[in-house]
């Protein structure tokens, strides 16, 4: 079962992933954006951990922990990724109610709510070289694995693989949203930094939700 401890573990792993890929994310952003994605996300997730570890995460509901992370990301990341990732965690938490133990169907619904929040805020669709290109296949893979009755960890790893494949598939795309869209054809040949960080977050979730307590 997924509990507040699992959510806390996800956030810690996400922070570690972002920190260890900071320079890679920033380099991807330098190629087609403004060279700050890794720096901003590292600062944001460090702030999320700072807030979370100041209290006792296990005492909070998964919804409260997720919403707190969303608020901190909105207030500390800046750029487009702050509102987008912040909105993901706010909507993700909003879909969890006050449950303390989450089953696979609830988690899949929460990931879907997060994806729809990002779509509304950023107004991007699949194929525009944005984080949607990683989030959407990840959520669809998660939903179909859960619908097929697969165990949660299997479903989460399917989502992580789909996010990674989705991120890699942004390389030949021409950006139509965000700063990279200004480059037009010149944005081809570079993997999207937002889709790349999304793949890291979904992988962190797969690792955290596969842990045995």
């Amino acid at each position: 079962m997924i509990t507040s401890s699992s959510i806390a573990s996800w956030l810690r792993k996400a922070a570690a992933e972002v920190a260890s890929h900071r320079d890679e994310l920033t380099a991807l952003d330098a190629a087609i954006g403004d060279a700050d994605h890794g720096i901003n996300l590292q600062r944001g997730f460090a702030a999320v951990l700072g807030r979370m570890e100041a209290g006792n995460p296990a005492e909070k509901t998964p919804a409260a922990l997720s919403k707190e992370a969303g608020m901190v990301l909105v207030a500390s990341v800046g750029g487009a990724s702050g509102p987008l990732y912040g909105t993901f965690f706010l909507r993700f938490g909003g879909a969890l109610g006050d449950q303390r133990e989450l089953d696979a169907a609830t988690l899949a619904a929460a990931f879907r709510a997060g994806l729809e929040g990002i779509r509304q805020r950023g107004k991007a669709e699949l194929g525009e070289k944005t984080m949607i290109d990683a989030w959407q296949p990840a959520v669809e893979a998660l939903e179909s694995a859960v619908a097929a009755g697969k165990p949660l960890e299997v479903a989460m790893w399917a989502a992580a693989a789909a996010a990674q494949a989705g991120a890699e598939a942004t390389t030949p795309m021409v950006a139509r949203k965000g700063r990279a869209s200004y480059m037009g054809e010149r944005s081809r040949g570079h993997q999207d930094p937002g889709a790349t960080s999304t793949a890291l977050l979904v992988k962190a979730a797969a690792e955290a939700f596969s842990e045995r307590e």
Binding site: T26, A35, D36, G122
Partner: protein
């Protein structure tokens, strides 16, 4: 990377601290969250103007806080938009009961963060409108991009909307004149060298000795093309022609022009550019009562410049020439009122 800093992660914080110490009786500086206001805020009954954006473009926006221009500026991290909590706190600090206008440069991050702040302020019953500045002709405005970027023309929007608000215009009136400026200002820039974001520690891009990037953005984003370096006069042609064409200016029209330094170009060179621009405008029979020359909207230490042209009518000219007292708006503009 060599910079006059203490800690790459604390550059914005340290600079805001310096701003507070340098101008204690002129500006009010908040650190948590980061925003800067006029020291007489809120001005009762006046529409408040709030702008902001990533740091690294100084004097934009903080240098244009003061009477006759902005009520508040929200500096984000370097080249990173401010966050909604900052913008909301600044909104509270300057709201004088007549509503608040957000002046937002058209970048996805800035748009999303100001949108969230506007939703929060509206939920509290504060009347907020926003205007998007998108003056950069280097970027095609199409459904396939995020739209044209906001660059140096932002200064004209802040000046003219600020003068309108200072003169007692309602929120709708101030917003309308800001949109009129947006509709009538265009810019294009070029770079000779890159800039280095302090936290990144290395140049954002690299340009060969004999190369320049035409259509550069103010964050070191690539523009239209990378071409061999030309003379200042040829560069003025390359920058100004698309601006004039996009505005659809006719001979005999009156304009205000801005030769803006990107941060690392000496004034000596900017005046060489201004001379070439003045001659080009005269050849086109475009009347420019003056040219603003200097660093207004920079890109850290990037060398290069941009040219902005604003089509004037009586209303815009009057508001442009109205007095404003800020760190960076030149006082000679209103002093030259009689002469023009």
């Amino acid at each position: 990377m060599k910079k006059l800093i203490n800690d790459p992660g604390a550059v914005v914080r340290d600079a805001l601290g310096g701003l507070a110490i340098a101008h204690p009786s002129f500006l009010h500086v908040s650190q948590e969250p980061a925003f800067v206001t006029r020291c007489d805020s809120p001005v009762a009954g006046k529409v408040a103007l709030v702008s902001g954006g990533g740091s690294g473009h100084e004097p934009l926006h903080v240098g244009f806080v003061g009477s006759g221009m902005l009520d508040a500026a929200c500096p984000g991290e370097v080249f990173t938009s401010p966050t909604p909590d900052q913008i909301l706190a600044a909104t509270h600090a300057v709201h004088g009961g007549a509503g608040v206008l957000y002046i937002v440069k058209n970048y996805t991050g800035d748009v999303l963060n100001f949108e969230m702040a506007q939703e929060m302020a509206s939920a509290e019953g504060i009347e907020v409108e926003s205007v998007l500045v998108n003056d950069d002709v280097a970027v095609k405005d199409s459904t396939y991009t995020a739209g044209r970027r906001g660059v140096a023309g932002t200064v004209f929007v802040e000046k003219i909307a600020g003068a309108r608000a200072e003169a007692g215009g309602s929120l709708a009136v101030v917003k309308a004149v800001a949109e009129k400026v947006v509709a009538n200002v265009r810019s294009m820039g070029m770079a000779l060298t890159s800039c280095s974001v302090p936290a990144a520690g290395q140049p954002t891009f690299s340009l060969g000795d004999g190369e320049m990037e035409v259509g550069i953005g103010i964050h070191g984003e690539p523009g239209r093309e990378r071409v061999p370096l030309r003379s200042a006069t040829e560069i003025v042609d390359i920058l100004a022609e698309p601006v004039i064409a996009d505005l659809g200016l006719w001979p005999g029209e009156e304009v205000a022009a801005l030769v803006n330094g990107m941060g690392g170009t000496p004034l000596l060179e900017l005046y060489v550019v201004a001379g070439a621009l003045g001659r080009l405008l005269a050849e086109r029979n475009l009347k420019a009562p003056f040219i603003l020359v200097g660093n207004f909207v920079t890109s850290l230490e990037m060398a290069g410049c941009s040219i902005s042209i604003l089509r004037l009518d009586e209303e815009l000219k009057e508001l442009l020439l109205a007095p404003a007292t800020t760190l960076a708006w030149p006082s000679w503009v209103s002093a030259s009122r009689e002469a023009t």
